[in-house]
């Protein structure tokens, strides 16, 4: 069985390894660098920057921890980017090493489907290769979407990729779109010293999260003095010699040194030769695939961002695994009900399952448990007390339906709840389990107790 994969992002490279593990002969074609968006210009690079910002924040607070720091602590963006590039380099090597170990052949070049079972690859170092294959997995990912009337110029109008490679910290940064990526960068550059303003069309920041989580995040933005303007559209941007002037839908203007446009992602489904075999795409260019990652064409699968929907690296990888397993004759499917999501703002956000509003819209009767991190000794010891845990349980069965956490290490904490939802556990199950002390995970236990108004570290209601 020969499996060929287009794209070596978290969708494609994971699919390649799984297919090889299952005995297939695997070729993966990558036109840029293995690891895709996630590793080269997404998850990992942003988290490297977040880590620098966190250390800076802690250093500024050294006094609160009883430490004497002499001299100024400040961000050196060149060194920060250097560190980021080093981290990325190590991971890229790691993936190439895994390919070698599992016998996956990597072709560095751009692949185009030319007919059933046929892929033509234009190699990076010149030349071409024609591949004949039994199965195809398309995992070509996505790229930053731009606003046609003010396209990226890499200088003053930046994509997220540009924002990961700046040579100077902008004095005034304007962020268009207060979604996940916009918010992460806002906190990063604010910490590095930029004056940051965000403009968002929707009424809330991170509007895909539970409303209470958005509200806490907005409070934290305010605390950091990051300005957030909601319900506002960017109408026009004028690029001047050394600044940009942005015109807003409420008639106001904002002057900034750089503008980061983080309004969403566009799918890489063009010029792939999809029409040559009749693969169906949707309105936004997403390849249409079912939960077994099958497209409408036999033997052709799609995984990751290119299929639209929720764009997260770990979901892309799961889809890659499922596509690979089915391609070699297995029977797998993705469970889209339990997809934990993490946002690396300060503090972090971790969420899984239904939001309160979604649960209510589904006609479910729910009980909510809430707990504030500031009631935990560990949070105080760490000096990170802001945030809440919110658990949503079914009123009748007590089964956990959703978990929404904003606070220190929320991205890790959410997994206990994710497992509970996946396995149909109840709020009482979580409350019943002993949680180690002192840990942030106690917040989950207390919130689970609070579902039945019996949290120990909360005053009587």
């Amino acid at each position: 069985m020969k499996v060929t994969i287009l794209g070596a992002g978290p969708g494609g490279y994971v699919a390649a390894i799984r297919a090889a593990q299952l005995g297939a002969e695997v070729i993966v074609v990558e036109e840029s660098e293995v690891g895709g968006t996630c590793l080269n210009r997404g998850c990992i690079p942003t988290k490297a920057l977040v880590a620098s910002a966190e250390v800076l924040d802690k250093a500024k607070k050294a006094k609160d921890f009883g430490l004497e720091l002499s001299g100024e602590v400040s961000a050196n963006i060149q060194k920060i980017i250097e560190r980021k590039n080093k981290i990325v380099g190590i991971q890229v090597k790691g993936i190439r090493g895994l390919f070698k170990s599992w016998g996956v052949r990597i072709l560095d070049g751009r692949g185009v489907i030319t007919g059933p079972g046929k892929i033509s690859v234009t190699l990076k170092d010149g030349g071409a290769e024609e591949i004949e294959t039994d199965k195809i997995i398309i995992a070509t990912g996505s790229r930053p979407a731009q606003i046609p009337i003010f396209p990226f110029d890499g200088e003053k109008i930046l994509s997220s990729t540009d924002a990961l490679n700046l040579e100077e910290i902008p004095k005034r940064l304007l962020v268009i779109g207060a979604g996940v990526i916009g918010c992460e960068f806002a906190f990063i550059y604010k910490e590095f010293g930029s004056e940051v303003t965000m403009v968002e069309m929707m009424p809330k920041a991170v509007s895909t999260e539970d409303e209470e989580i958005s509200a806490v995040l907005e409070r934290e933005l305010k605390k950091k003095k990051i300005k957030l303007l909601t319900n506002i559209k960017m109408e026009k941007i004028e690029v001047k010699e050394d600044s940009v002037q942005a015109f807003l839908s409420d008639g106001k203007t904002i002057e900034a040194d750089k503008v980061l446009v983080s309004i969403g992602r566009a799918m890489n489904s063009e010029n792939l030769g999809l029409e040559s075999i009749g693969v169906k795409t949707g309105q936004r260019g997403e390849i249409i695939a079912n939960s077994r990652m099958e497209t409408n064409v036999d033997g052709v699968y799609a995984a990751g961002d290119v299929t639209g929907g929720i764009m997260l690296a770990h979901l892309a990888s799961k889809e890659g695994v499922v596509a690979a397993e089915n391609a070699v004759g297995g029977d797998s499917a993705v469970n889209y009900d339990v997809v934990p999501a993490a946002i690396f703002t300060s503090p972090e956000i971790g969420s899984v399952g239904l939001r309160e509003k979604q649960a209510v819209e589904k006609g479910l009767k729910v009980r909510i448990g809430r707990f504030q991190f500031r009631a935990l000794g560990k949070a105080h010891a760490m000096g990170e007390i802001a945030g809440i845990v919110k658990l949503i349980a079914d009123e009748e069965s007590d089964k956990l339906l959703g978990a929404h956490i904003i606070g220190p290490h929320a991205s890790d904490l959410v997994h206990e709840a994710a497992l509970a939802i996946e396995k149909g556990l109840t709020a009482r199950d979580i409350a019943h389990m002993i949680h180690a002390h002192p840990t942030l995970a106690e917040g989950i236990m207390e919130a689970a107790e609070d579902v039945h108004d019996s949290a120990i570290h909360m005053p009587k209601k």
Binding site: R219, K222, K223, Q372, R374, I385
Partner: protein, 130 residues
């Protein structure tokens, strides 16, 4: 400000009305039960607020709590100093810790407010027993 001469709302805010302007803050009891205050979400100027509803929120190391507006009107001044030094709310709740000035809506009812001795009694009889 002398706490003796202020009016009080049962949700532990004080108010000093002079003409159509009402300066408001939280009471000594409120700051004591909250413990160390670490943040106040200052209301924006021109926000309109209604008596008995949340004007803003305060975070302490123990809890987050609503500041309930004692009057109906529109915020015309806020104490910006609190944004960088929220601990003033603990140190001087009736003085430097004032939160905002509200222009009271014409005809708004302020009769429900207590004077200092009534508030004291209310604390003794109802609140502290809980």
């Amino acid at each position: 400000m002398d706490p003796e001469n202020l009016k009080y709302h049962k949700e532990h805010t004080w108010v000093n009305i002079s003409g159509n302007k009402a300066t408001i803050g939280i009471t000594g009891y409120a700051q004591e039960s909250l413990g160390d205050i670490v943040y106040i979400d200052l209301p924006e100027l021109e926000t309109s607020t209604e008596a008995n509803t949340e004007l803003t929120e305060i975070e302490s190391t123990k809890a987050t709590a609503s500041v309930i507006s004692p009057v109906t009107g529109s915020v015309v001044e806020v104490n910006e100093e609190l944004s960088d030094a929220p601990e003033i709310l603990n140190e001087d709740p009736y003085g430097k810790g004032w939160i905002a000035v509200i222009e009271v809506e014409e005809g708004a009812d302020t009769n429900d407010l207590m004077d200092a001795s009534d508030y004291e009694k209310y604390l003794e009889e109802e609140v502290k027993l809980k």
